[in-house]
């Protein structure tokens, strides 16, 4: 359904396009211009956050269901990959794919339990998931290595450390691109429209015939798959897993914070949030070490975002931009009345062809 706005080159769109191209160029060149391997590894950590937060945004952004437990899904992807490599002897990237599929399969019963009722139970299940996986992976030491951790052999044993970082930087970048592409595709589809209807008013969406439970479950599984992939890729890169860090409630809350800060309704919102929060986190780690104060900083930042900027910085910037540009749309809708009319005739044709 091509709408008129796609052919219009508004200043906001142009600015967005330029920003995207600039980001892509900088990201592609970053391994060459990063002055030392440490900064390159920081780049990988930030990219990992960006993938995780974009994966989280499949559920959080489309349906409005907030999960604090995606950290556990990433941890399961990481441990799944690590255990498949060490215990089953699979090649690294086969293990990665298998682990991500396993996380997605596990997400089916989880989502079944968590998504049948509305929000509150979903949040409770998501937190419980982190707590129970931490419990299991710490206690089941004979299988998971327990608190001693798990060593994952490197996929490219011949590479030196800087080269290793460089390869994984591009791998994470590719994964980010795929995740963003899938989000964009869902955003434009009927499926995405149904999900967004759930976000706006689940009762009305259901009354209009949207299969809300099935939609929520499918998008939760997609989200879990990408989260598992990101976790597994992290395991292959970092090579050392510890249950305390893998199944930390903080990982999940970072994903939420990044996505919210950037703006959950925007394709690039989580990416922007990850760039801001991820760099800040690494900076704080260098400057202040691991003090309990980083918990305080995270909490205060999250509270401020929730209270004063629940839509994120990207929409705020966009609003600022539109204020200075000669505007034609006075409606608060995302589409103008003319676009709506064009869509309606197009939509009717679609409906007829489907019914016929």
């Amino acid at each position: 359904m091509p709408s008129a706005s796609e052919r219009l080159l508004t200043p906001t769109r142009a600015a967005g396009g330029v920003a995207l191209l600039a980001f892509a160029a900088v990201a592609l060149a970053y391994p060459s211009i990063a002055p030392n391997p440490y900064l390159l590894s920081v780049g990988i950590v930030v990219l990992n956050y960006a993938v995780l937060s974009t994966s989280w945004n499949f559920v959080g952004g489309f349906t409005g269901y907030i999960s604090l437990g995606h950290g556990a899904l990433a941890g399961l992807g990481a441990y799944g990959t690590g255990l498949l490599v060490t215990k089953a002897g699979l090649p690294s990237f086969v293990a990665l794919a298998a682990a991500a599929v396993m996380v997605a399969v596990l997400a089916v019963p989880l989502g079944y339990a968590a998504l049948r009722v509305r929000g509150a139970s979903f949040v409770i299940v998501s937190i419980a998931l982190v707590l129970v996986t931490l419990l299991v992976f710490q206690s089941w030491a004979s299988f998971t290595g327990g608190s001693r951790g798990l060593n994952v052999p490197r996929p490219f044993p011949g590479l030196l450390r800087p080269e290793h970082h460089r390869v994984f930087f591009y791998l994470f970048l590719a994964l980010l691109a795929v995740a963003l592409l899938v989000w964009w595709l869902i955003d434009r589809s009927r499926f995405g429209l149904g999900l967004k209807a759930i976000r706006e008013d689940e009762d009305k969406a259901e009354a209009l015939g949207t299969p809300t439970f099935a939609y929520k479950l499918v998008v939760f599984v997609v989200s879990a798959f990408f989260t598992g992939l990101a976790g597994g890729l992290y395991a292959l890169w970092f090579g050392d897993l510890d249950p305390i860090f893998q199944f930390s409630i903080l990982t999940g809350s970072y994903m939420v914070l990044m996505a919210l800060l950037g703006g959950v309704r925007n394709l690039f919102g989580p990416l922007v949030g990850a760039l801001l929060v991820g760099s800040a986190l690494e900076y704080f780690k260098v400057e202040f070490g691991n003090t309990p104060l980083h918990l305080v900083a995270t909490g205060v930042l999250l509270a401020l975002v929730v209270l004063f900027m629940p839509d994120g910085v990207l929409p705020a910037l966009g609003a600022l931009f539109r204020r200075f540009s000669p505007t034609t749309d006075s409606s608060i809708r995302e589409v103008t009345a003319a676009e709506l009319a064009a869509q309606r005739t197009g939509g009717d044709l679609h409906a007829q062809s489907r019914n016929g």
Binding site: G64, Y65, I66, L68, P109, Y112, A113, A114, R116, V117, R118, G119, A120, S121, V123, I124, V125, I127, A128, L131, V132, L135, V136, Q138, S139, I249, L250, S253, V256, L260, T291, P292, L293, H294, L295, V296, A297, T298, G299, V300, L302, A303, V306, L307, P310
Partner: protein
Amino acid sequence: MPSGALLFQSVILGLLLGGLYALLAAGLTLYFGIMRVVMIAHSAFLILAAYLAWWSHTELGIDPLLSMVVTVPLFFGCGVLLQRLLLARLRAVTLTMMSVLLTFAIAVVIEGLLGYVFSGTQRRIQLGYGAASLELLGARIAVVKLIAFGLAGVALASLYLVMKKTTFGWALRATIQHRDAAKLVGIDTDRVAGYGFGLGLATAAVGGTALSLDTTIYPSLHWHWIGPLMAIIVVGGLGSVPGAAAAAMVLGLAQSLLQIELGTTWAQTVFYIALFLTLAVRPQGFFGGRLAQRF
């Protein structure tokens, strides 16, 4: 097969633990009833109260139970302010989700501040009567556990009386049942909701003091409490106080009995298994009414 005395002791300990769970779950249920808020920070306030009790005992030399004279009113005030200044500001449409994030942020801030002020070292109150115990039909019950249960029982009973017998309790229950209707008959629902939150947080002060008597505390301990508590309110049916109390007793008992065979760590999983099974089989919980079906 464990001996009869051991089994009996586990049953007693399970019931005593269940009493504390019931008190704390009652607070969580109250918040949910008033505002549809899942209050993640409840157990963080619990640990905060335990730290305050520990601090007043080691630094000021007074009995930890006396710290409640300060903590209960203090927490009541915190609860009122929390509701009026922070939660009431959130948009009504996304209240359930955003309030989770906000209270989560508060929990993380409390954990970080506790770690900063008192360090991450594990703390424990050394009491004169800490080692004393009663012998009952071959079961050995620590006196401090009985005191903790007594505290929880008294607090629950007073909560019940406040809710059922006072005008404020009427207004609070009316606000929970139907906010708009309550407003129509002249109840200042905003103020009542604030006081209701204060009441809920006051239960955390009592629970924290009871907890400090016989538990080693550390800043991140609250995560070990919020999981079981949330499982309890879901199994009981969100918003139902008797349901939460019954679920607390049953799950506390189950945890205590499973500890004999599985050890403390694995016994904790009973809460999460109960949570998943409840949501899969009977998502509205076992005592929940109309309210629970929609959340």
